[in-house]
């Protein structure tokens, strides 16, 4: 089969050992004329060293303000197949678990209604289907819905929550990341599909401080598993590790609070001083395990650099008892979320993420607004400048 567009530059990217995305576009193009045009346009970008997509343009399905990203080529005549080349975001399964049956169907719909190309997965966690036309959107959407899948977030709304695989396969998980991710996604369908926020809002759930879903740097509200009681130590296994690993150098000396040491052959941990960083457990998973009183810390405000610089999640709730609250349909958490969203709604400006709002109004004002008390766990250290805004009630201390 002759190629519709010559792609000498892209062909260079079929060389080398790593699996080639060019080969993948070509495989999709074999079945889809529009993807042939996509190939052509990308080749032209490689030649011109510039993108050839127009900015924005609408795409979506009825009753939803989110879930699709509109995309139009600058050269509809040259590449008519990508005159419209929208992408559709399909909410992934918690933990990205699938079976072959459903995956084949997902791919099938992408081929039937789109360009046969998918992102597995997008950076937020959606299954992305590339190359849809607006007039096919509804049909594709319903096909996925019939398979039991809905659209993900987009625009100024709650973005598709995602999580690490947690208790499904990981011995480190301190709470059920898959379940809370699923439950909250279901609870906030309206907030996901109909953008009414000032800007995007992201939840991510990691089962422990390793943060395998990078929640601390990429979500407005990050849940990071932790525990309250003591690390469980299997001293026999410790002794086994000592045989093969320099435990002093690689484990103990790297504990951030220096709260562990050997007493004779036994490993001792000063648990009240442990910050649940996971390092020792990572290094000796057979010997050490998180305690029994498990839950999650909640960090707020992470985001990408624009406009005021990149932000990491800031500690707000040192310990949230996920399991207990889940029995109450997450009543406590939902109240907190609602307080946050209300405050954001009232005081935030357009295109201001929650982290930027916190920074602008000040953490204390934000805390008062959402009904939390300041605690030392929130700060790296107390203030070092003397410009204290005393208030009247304090006068007669």
């Amino acid at each position: 089969m002759g190629k519709k567009h010559e792609t000498p530059l892209l062909d260079e990217l079929k060389k080398g050992k790593w699996v080639s995305f060019v080969r993948e576009i070509e495989r999709a193009a074999e079945k889809s004329e529009r993807t042939e045009d996509l190939l052509g346009q990308v080749e032209q970008s490689y030649r011109d060293k510039v993108t050839h997509w127009k900015h924005g343009g609408m795409a979506g399905v009825k009753g939803y303000g989110a879930g699709m990203v509109g995309r139009f080529t600058e050269f509809p005549d040259k590449y008519p197949g990508v005159k419209e080349c929208h992408s559709m975001r399909i909410n992934q399964v918690s933990g990205f678990f699938y079976n072959s049956d459903v995956l084949r169907k997902i791919a099938g719909i992408a081929e039937k209604h789109g360009g046969g190309l998918l992102n597995l997965h997008g950076s937020t966690g959606d299954i992305q289907i590339l190359g849809l036309r607006q007039d096919e959107a509804e049909e594709a959407f319903q096909a996925y819905a019939e398979l039991g899948f809905d659209l993900g977030g987009g625009g100024s709304d709650l973005r598709t929550p995602s999580c690490c695989l947690g208790q499904a396969r990981c011995e480190f998980a301190n709470y059920d990341t898959l379940k809370i991710c699923y439950d909250l996604t279901q609870a906030y369908q309206d907030e996901m599909h109909r953008p009414l926020f000032n800007y995007k809002f992201k939840f991510k759930f990691s089962g422990c401080a390793n943060d395998c879903v990078a929640s601390a740097s990429r979500s407005d509200m990050a849940f990071i598993g932790t525990w309250k009681d003591s690390i469980k130590i299997n001293q026999d296994e410790v002794k086994n590790y000592v045989k093969k690993l320099n435990v002093q150098k690689y484990v103990i000396d790297k504990c951030p609070t220096k709260c562990m040491w050997f007493e004779e052959d036994n490993l001792v941990i000063d648990d009240p001083n442990c910050v649940k960083c996971m390092h020792c457990i990572n290094e000796m998973p057979k010997a050490l395990r998180p305690g029994d009183e498990k839950g999650a810390s909640i960090l707020l405000g992470a985001k990408a650099p624009l406009v005021t610089g990149p932000r990491m999640g800031m500690m707000f709730i040192p310990f949230y008892d996920v399991l207990e609250d889940s029995k109450n349909n997450y009543e406590w958490l939902k109240q907190l979320i609602s307080n946050i969203w209300d405050f954001w709604d009232e005081y935030g400006v357009t295109r201001e993420r929650i982290g930027e709002l916190m920074q602008r109004v000040g953490v204390v004002t934000f805390l008062e607004g959402i009904g939390l008390e300041p605690i030392p766990e929130m700060v790296d250290h107390p203030r070092s400048n003397p410009f204290i805004k005393f208030e009247d009630e304090e006068e007669n201390d």
Binding site: D48, W53, S100, A304
Partner: protein, 361 residues
Amino acid sequence: MPEEAKNKRLTDIGPHDFHDYLPPVIKKNYGKWAYHEILDAGSMVHVAESGDKLYTVRVGSPRLVSGSFVRDLCDLADKYCSGYLRFTTRNNVEFLLEDEKNIEPLKQDIAKLGLAAGGIGNVVANIVHTQGWVHCHTSASDASGVVKSVMDDLYEYFVEEKLPAKVRIAFACCLNMCGSVASSDIAILGTHRKPPRINQERLLNLCEIPSTIAACPTNSIRPDTQDGKQTLRINEETCVFCGSCYTVCPAMPIADPATDGLSIWVGGKVSNARTKPTFSKLVIPFIPNDPPRWPKVVEAVKTILDAYKEGAESGERVVEWIERIGWPRFFKITGFKFTKYHVDDFRLAETTMNYSSHTRL
């Protein structure tokens, strides 16, 4: 699916329930895993308290895949693990096996498909990345092409555990940073170097003046009038080419073939293991776009990785290594030039300086 549902338009059904796709061994041992062991860079075993074992074989993916690719995976899953598979948070594929004996044959089939088993343990993980010229309008560079070029070069580090610790590389094609660029061991970032060009006509139709002004991190956008019409003016003296205005206002394109390219950052980290999460820091302010294979970018990443491999102690992430040896030595070892661009001049710039006499001489 019941009949009435079929005829009704389905909305707000939410994501599929994950329970439906968990393999039986997971369902049985959910929340009851005891420990894991890494068998090699392509496989590991998780052992449950019950003694049950789950074997995982991880396979690199370009993330942008065809339906055929998906079916290839499904075929292997059917053949070796009752059809169960998952994707990782870094876009790798994981086959979930109950039978250890299936690992080797599966790996052979994987190789036959031109794919690589790997990515577990102290490796270069799959590069988290974004759309680039394949789909986005703001990109300063392609995404997948750079990633492919780099991964070809680092292939050995994906398929074998040869590094002191995990190395996470991320790519984003513009400062919106849809990848994890702000906090990766090594990050590659699409970078514009010219102010946006204002299209006065389109501006009036397409853009909201106040939100465009508010989008600018350096206050470089001012309202203006031209021929009696309301428009915007850019202070080119202060514009930092971030493209934020273009994101909000399509009438201010910023991409420029002659001056766009990439910058390189290192020493970010998300995990809380040992040290707190930290951002990536600038090491090469600019490398011009050089498609199709961006040789200088590839070389830069390799230089960093080689220096890291050579210098870091076992268990040290990139940032931990650099902080131990110091940034001056990092620049010396890699040969990268330290310039005025490396000295922060944004909002919190002053907090990045060396307030001490600590210095290597």
